[in-house]
C-alpha cells in the first residue's frame, strides 16, 4: 500500500469524524455539547491539514496546522470564559 493511499484513507476517515462532530454541534442539545464538538472539529482540522500536507507533498501545510491548533485552543477557552463570567440565567445560556 503506497503512502498516497494511506494518507487518502486517513483524510477520508478524518472527514467522516469531522462530519460526525458537526452533526453533534448542530443538534446540541446544550451549548456545552456544541463547544465540545467545535473543539473536536478543530483537532480533526489540525490532523487533516497534516494529512493534506503529506498527501500533496507540501510540508508547509504543517505551519498552518500549528497556527490552527493554537487558535482552536484560544477560541475554546475564550468561549468558556464568556460562559463563566456572563451572569445570564442558566436556561438562556443552555439553549
Amino acid at each position: 500500500m503506497s503512502l498516497t493511499v494511506v494518507f487518502a484513507i486517513a483524510c477520508i476517515c478524518t472527514l467522516v469524524a469531522m462530519a460526525m462532530s458537526l452533526i453533534r454541534a448542530t443538534i446540541g442539545p446544550t451549548v456545552f455539547d456544541r463547544i465540545l464538538a467545535v473543539n473536536n472539529f478543530g483537532t480533526m482540522t489540525v490532523l487533516l491539514l497534516g494529512f493534506l500536507g503529506f498527501l500533496t507533498e507540501r510540508p508547509d501545510f504543517l505551519d498552518i496546522a500549528l497556527v490552527y491548533a493554537l487558535m482552536n485552543f484560544i477560541a475554546t477557552i475564550a468561549v468558556l470564559r464568556y460562559s463563566d463570567f456572563s451572569h445570564a440565567p442558566s436556561d438562556e445560556v443552555s439553549e
Partner: protein, 124 residues
C-alpha cells in the same frame, strides 16, 4: 527505510480509526459527560498516534528533494503540534466539563439541562 514508512503508516491508520471512534462516541453517547469523555480520546491518543506515525513516515521517506535538514524540520514541527495538542486537549476538555458542571448539568442521565433550583433540591 521502508520499514519505518510501513510502521508509520500503521500508526497513522490506527490513529485515524481512533479519531473516528471518538467521533462516533461524540455522536452516539447519551449524556454530556459521556460525550466529553468520548471527545477527549482523539485529542490525545488519536492525534498523538497520527502525528507519531507521520514523524516515522517522514523520517523513512526516500526522495531526492527531501534532505535530512528538511526531514528534521518537519519532524520538529510535527513534534510541536503533538506536544501542543497533548497539553491543550485535556485542558480544554476539563474547562468544558467544569463549566458544564457549574452550570448545573450535574448528574442527569438523559442529557437534558437542569435548572439551578432542581440541582439545589437534589444536592441540598
Amino acid at each position: 527505510m521502508i520499514v519505518l514508512t510501513t510502521i508509520g503508516s500503521v500508526f497513522v491508520l490506527v490513529g485515524v480509526v481512533i479519531c473516528m471512534i471518538g467521533g462516533v462516541g461524540l455522536l452516539r453517547m447519551p449524556n454530556f459527560f459521556a460525550r466529553a469523555h468520548a471527545a477527549s480520546v482523539p485529542d490525545t491518543l488519536g492525534a498523538g498516534l497520527c502525528l507519531f506515525g507521520m514523524t516515522l513516515v517522514i523520517i523513512g521517506y526516500d526522495h531526492p528533494l527531501y534532505s535530512w535538514d528538511l526531514k528534521a524540520l518537519i519532524a520538529v514541527k510535527l513534534f510541536f503540534i503533538g506536544a501542543f495538542l497533548f497539553f491543550t486537549g485535556p485542558i480544554a476538555g476539563h474547562a468544558v466539563c467544569k463549566a458544564a458542571f457549574e452550570r448545573g448539568h450535574g448528574s442527569d442521565i438523559d442529557g437534558s439541562p437542569k435548572s439551578p433550583e432542581e440541582r439545589e433540591a437534589e444536592h441540598g
